[in-house]
């Protein structure tokens, strides 16, 4: 009798332990998918090419918290590309939306005397002082996507093309008018106060005006699925007939498509933005209103890693005559349709 309670305790502990193990087994969320092939890598490098293994390069990498698909892919693709190079050691500071912590991460890289820092700041302006500090310490900083407010804070800046996204989407509309002169064009923007959203909308407007069209209905969401659903619901109520709809962001597009489905609407052509793999599968299957999307590359940090490596190894971009790595690289915002989706789907992000 004396030992009874203890035995019960052992039993409870055992059950608890097993539950934990069982639960742990259920936490896996990774699809069993082969890693995206981002090209390059030391394993199949030709002699004398840029990809050939050179001196060891230690790169520090920091980005905001991966709270949406695009941002998750930024860090993932940076890690993937680094793994392809034997001569690259990537130190990844875990994503954070706290500038105080991100500054501290970069300071750690400076203390470590890494060879280069690839930085996608949570807030470009807020990370400028510490980036300047790194540059002063002789460590080149590669600024990705969100720009510093001082050009001296980065050696290389890699940007997507927000204005170009709008232009590409607008041109797609113009190309598909089929002689219509008064098409109803609607737009679901991202967070309206962000400069990037304003740039996208401006580009869209400018391209539409080239073919005599304008935006008839415009609402703004917030890059989230819920926000997209809500904004699209309101828009569909307001506009009983639409010919073209451009949605700025495929992460919020999941919600937009849900709202369209709920409203049983299919009279229009929808264009997405950013270029998620989900959106591309829909375009490939060709069974929704989504017929195209405009890319905002989620692999720009991976490009940052590649350029950082070249920079430190004093190599040049081999296809340019110039012997130094360029100061600014702005990526193109191509339109993805059923015809060319195969070309892009491998490097797209899951939202």
């Amino acid at each position: 009798m004396k030992f009874q309670p203890i035995r019960t305790k052992v039993g409870t502990t055992l059950v608890a332990g097993l539950s934990v193990v069982a639960l742990a087994a259920c936490t896996g969320n990774e699809p069993d998918k082969d890693k995206a092939d981002l090209g390059g890598g030391t394993s199949q490098a030709d002699n004398g090419s840029n990809d050939e293994a050179g001196d060891k390069v230690v790169i520090g990498f920091s980005a905001p918290a991966a709270d949406h698909g695009w941002m998750g892919s930024i860090t993932q693709s940076a890690q993937d590309i680094a793994a392809q190079y034997d001569d690259v050691e990537l130190r990844v500071a875990d994503g954070t939306n706290d500038v105080n912590l991100q500054i501290s991460q970069v300071e750690t890289f400076i203390n470590d005397k890494v060879d280069a820092i690839v930085l996608l700041p949570f807030d470009g302006a807020a990370m400028t002082p510490v980036a300047l500090k790194a540059m002063d310490a002789g460590i080149p900083v590669i600024n990705v996507d969100r720009e510093f407010d001082d050009p001296n804070a980065a050696r290389v800046t890699i940007l997507g093309d927000n204005y170009g996204m709008g232009v590409s989407a607008g041109q797609f509309v113009c190309d598909n008018l089929d002689g219509k002169t008064d098409a109803v064009v609607a737009e679901i923007a991202g967070i309206d106060s962000l400069p990037l959203t304003q740039d996208r909308s401006q580009g869209f407007e400018d391209a539409l005006s080239e073919c005599g069209q304008d935006v008839d209905n415009r609402v703004a969401a917030d890059f989230t699925v819920e926000g997209g659903e809500e904004a699209a619901g309101n828009l569909l109520q307001a506009a009983p007939k639409i010919d073209f709809l451009w949605n700025h962001d495929d992460d919020q597009g999941v919600g937009v498509l849900a709202a369209i489905k709920n409203a049983n609407r299919d009279e229009f052509v929808m264009i997405g933005g950013a270029g998620s793999a989900n959106a591309m599968r829909d375009i490939q299957a060709d069974n929704t209103v989504l017929k195209a999307t405009v890319i905002y590359p989620s692999t720009q940090a991976a490009d940052g890693i590649k350029l950082a490596r070249l920079l430190v190894q004093a190599k040049s971009l081999s296809d340019l005559v110039e012997v130094e790595v360029p100061r600014t690289v702005q990526l193109y915002a191509p339109v993805v349709t059923k015809d060319n989706v195969d070309q892009f789907i491998d490097t797209a992000f899951e939202s």
Binding site: A93, N100, I103, D149
Partner: protein
């Protein structure tokens, strides 16, 4: 009957949730229990104030050993120590203020939002223009005034409005960040006053100015709590508001002062962050309330009020900052760190409760 802080009046014996009407019996029982266990020397040592801080020192040293073992001289270098301290300064200043509020029997969830609002308000074009025309100290004044004003609103709502601290400061959390977003239009405001940045960004003997600020706030806080009437009143108000009132302390006004004090600390922290980032933004200080409360709690301050130490809070802040640093140095994810942080908080509170139940019984 003062019901200014209704949530604390019943909690003078936190370790005995079902506080019996006959306190005396409980005391006798607990005392008997204690003598029976007196041989447990470790617990007896931990019970003393010095002993409790010794526990924190051991925890911090343990972390340092882990850091040195996993990251070698990358961890032990002076530069790294300074990185930890600079990172800790912002949260640290807020945590010192939070210690006072919690000892006084309250809680403040709005510190991060107040920090954001102060950072935005002191970097508006209008403020910066005035600062350029007169002196950069204007920005300092604005940040401190915004912090103090928010603290005053919190304190008045709680003391004289009868709103429980949790709700009053939750409301402030929402509105202060909302106001910060309205003022800044959700945009990041860049500091264009070089004298301001130069003053806060300076280094004295190789150590950043923010670290000195943290040290000064901590020392002032220690003196205020341990060597002044204000400090003794704070402990009395938190320990037993009714007794404090009967002893002639203006409990309501004292509570207001505690929140104002914390608001000013938020203003100071905002200035440190503004100088560190050269920006004011409505996104600054996300979740700082939780970080500050966690640091205060593991530092040995009772959430029910009436007891706590500044030294403990400083160690709490340093422990979390070092933990973060060790994780960054080892490329470990923040999610794991959060998990560990939760475990540390629970462990600290469990230990605290055991000690508290013994202390109350003596």
């Amino acid at each position: 009957m003062s019901d200014a802080t209704p949530d604390t009046t019943n909690d003078t014996l936190p370790a005995v949730p079902s506080a019996p009407a006959s306190d005396e019996t409980a005391r006798v029982e607990a005392a008997a229990l204690e003598t029976a266990r007196e041989d447990n020397a470790v617990l007896a040592l931990l019970r003393s104030s010095a002993g409790r801080n010794a526990g924190l020192v051991v925890a911090l040293l343990l972390l340092c050993v882990v850091g040195a073992a996993t990251a070698g001289d990358r961890f032990t270098s002076t530069d790294n120590a300074l990185t930890i301290l600079r990172y800790a300064a912002t949260i640290g200043v807020v945590s010192i203020g939070m210690t006072f509020v919690i000892i006084g029997g309250g809680i403040d969830l709005s510190v991060g939002a107040i920090l954001a609002l102060a950072s935005v308000w002191c970097t508006t074009l209008a403020t910066q223009q005035t600062a350029e025309d007169s002196h950069w100290v204007v920005m300092v004044f604005v940040a401190l005034a915004v912090g103090a004003a928010c603290g005053l609103v919190n304190g008045l709502l709680i003391s004289y409005g009868g709103v429980v601290p949790f709700i009053a400061t939750l409301a402030m959390l929402a509105s202060a960040r909302g106001l910060a977003e309205i003022i800044s239009d959700k945009k990041t405001q860049i500091v264009q006053v070089p004298e301001f940045v130069a003053f806060f960004d300076r280094e004295i003997l190789g150590i950043g100015f923010s670290v000195y600020l943290f040290a000064v706030v901590a020392i002032v806080g220690w003196v205020l709590l341990n060597r002044t009437t204000f400090g003794r009143r704070t402990i009395a108000v938190g320990g037993n508001p009714e007794a404090a009132r009967l002893a002639g302390i203006n409990v309501k006004w004292h509570t207001v002062l505690l929140y104002v004090l914390l608001g000013i600390c938020c203003g100071i922290a905002a200035l440190i962050l503004v100088a560190r980032t050269s920006t004011g933004s409505s996104t600054h200080g996300q979740f700082y309330e939780l970080e500050a409360i966690a640091a205060v709690v593991i530092g040995g301050t009772l959430l029910t009020g009436g007891r706590g130490t500044i030294v403990g809070t400083v160690f709490g802040v340093l422990i979390f900052a070092t933990l973060t640093n060790v994780f960054v140095l080892n490329n470990r994810s923040q999610s794991e760190q959060q998990l560990l942080k939760g475990a540390i908080i629970v462990a600290a509170v469990l230990l605290q409760q055991r000690l508290a139940s013994r202390n109350n019984s003596t």
